[in-house]
Amino acid sequence: MKVYVPLDAAARALGADEVVAALQAEAMRRGVALDVVRNGSRGMVWLEPLVEVETPAGRMGFGPMEAASVAQVFDGGPLAIGLVEDLPWMKAQTRLTFARCGVIDPLSVEDYRAHGGFAGLARALAMSVEERLAEVTASGLRGRGGAGFPTGIKWRTVAGAVADRKYIVCNADEGDSGTFADRMIMEGDPLSLIEGMVIAGITVGATHGFVYLRSEYPDAIAVMNLAVLAARAAGMLGASVMGSGIAFDMEIRVGAGAYVCGEETSLLNSLEGKRGVVRAKPPLPALEGFMGKPTVVNNVISLATIPVIFERGAAAYAAHGIGRSRGTIPLQIAGNVARGGLFEAAFGMSLGEIVDDLAGGTATGRPVKAVQVGGPLGAYFPRMLFDVPFGYEEYAGQGGLIGHAGIVVFDESADMLAQARFAMEFCAIESCGKCTPCRIGAVRGAETIDRIARGDASAIPLLHDLCDTMKAGSLCALGGFTPYPVLSALTHFPDDFARVKEAAE
């Protein structure tokens, strides 16, 4: 009997390891030979730990499984949810980047190959550098870390730079609350990220890559390190990538708990062994990046999407999406939701569809008050804006950002003044200290919101003014975007900023 139980950190945090132990004990008691595969997560976190049993008809799901209920995996029972591939959540997705995640054994090169792995790299190797650059550009892929910079243009810049060494740096410092797509793909299909980095390397002429992975992700660090060894053994990394004669190798580096290191220049400083202080741009990292050499810095999801673009062709990828937001985006639905998890879809879904239909409303059953999109630097959206389609320009047009596509839902008990204050407080804690608007502005911002909380309405114009200064004067997105959650809370939920005055008097 072959069963799948995720090794994904969320599944383990909900008891997957205990479920495996119970399954093995139960199988032994019954005299059944049990083959347990630790797969990635399918992304349906409300069903984790999700146990899947291989049957001739497909993989039958049981979840959310508990150690005490594992007999149901053998006998059936109320936790049986049918064929996993037929669940509405799975069928409604366009799984390109996450096609293998949850399906395969993440560290099995054979599994990876059997499910389309290596096909993109093989096609890329048969192309010229110019054809590869044209392919990435034609796919319309933009930075999935949130900045949305066209990946093809970045690669072309690095490819055109002349230097004795060039680097590929994968930004896996996924610090935004509400986001876990990087973690899921690194734990569930790490070879796709490695393949993407190899294609980047052979395209721009880089021979070495780094994954800068946050220390808060111990499971992802462990899986990625093993995956690099597996890729090296399979000939995907090394002196001659797949026998092409082109060299590319890579290593995993661990961050040290600084949110700002998700910003690319501060990440590069950290990687060099320095304080994670933001650098002024120019020079662009594409020309003077790691150790002053031309460097591609791409997010995990951008790089992990490269193989499927080469496998299926740029046109097939670009056929999905809206406007200038091409392809798919892994939506991460989190916070106070009935059904949380990862849902990969073409750009263009409305927030209403995501929150009401996919997530099924709040976990508490109370009405949705606000939805923060794009992490701690993203705006809070009220229900009034639930029809905005999910896309880079569409969100920017509403004073927000899609960021890394984290969607955090709050019910009516949320105090938006407190959320605005938290945004400032977080910025103050995590500021690298280099520029004044961020370093001092965030501290003054928290104080100003405290004044408003004490009933001093005259501080509201001051808060607007301060946010303008932070937006216009900060060196990077930390200080520059902290005003998004603050001002959106203030604009869309004015009652939360006004009611306190009466209470004070």
Binding site: A13, G178, F180, Y217, A256, I333, G340, Q372, E430
Partner: protein
């Protein structure tokens, strides 16, 4: 426990093991902390010399990052996620309860050295919030009772 000489010898070994590594300082600091539970004062001159930075620059790097400790943590470490997705699921209330239970504020270690309480900003468990990490073990949909149960497992 190593004396200062023994410590310097071990730190020198760690530094030497990272020779040829580009940007070796963070990997060295992680390795030293993994070995000693913190980055001891006595290790600093050895590290500074090994990577070719001044003591002041080294202090600047160590103090920049939340992860590096200048003193050992308690025997057990509780980290509670303080970020938005966990706030949306009552993380603040869980935090207040755990603080009261342990009698500790953020970044504090009990007088008996048993437990250290730390905030963390996102463990990537945002779809099963609130989240915590007790002695390295991740816990989803956490409450004060679950934290206490995990502490008791080791403490008993």
């Amino acid at each position: 426990m190593l004396d200062e000489t023994g410590l310097s010898v071990r730190v020198t070994e760690i530094v030497q093991a990272h020779q040829g590594v580009e940007g070796a300082l963070l990997p060295i600091l992680h390795a030293v902390q993994a070995e000693f539970g913190h980055v001891p004062q006595a290790a600093l001159p050895v590290i500074a010399q090994g990577v070719g930075v001044t003591r002041a620059e080294l202090h600047g790097v160590i103090s920049f990052y939340h992860d590096f400790r200048d003193a050992p943590a308690g025997q057990q470490v509780v980290r509670l996620c303080r970020a938005e997705a966990c706030q949306a699921m009552g993380g603040d209330a869980v935090a207040a309860e755990v603080q009261a239970q342990l009698g500790l504020g953020w970044h504090e270690t009990g007088a008996d050295g048993a437990v250290t309480l730390e905030p963390v900003f996102c463990l990537g468990l945002c779809a099963c919030a609130p989240a915590a990490q007790v002695n390295g073990r991740l816990i989803g949909r956490v409450d004060a009772a679950k934290v206490a149960a995990h502490l008791a497992k080791v403490g008993a």
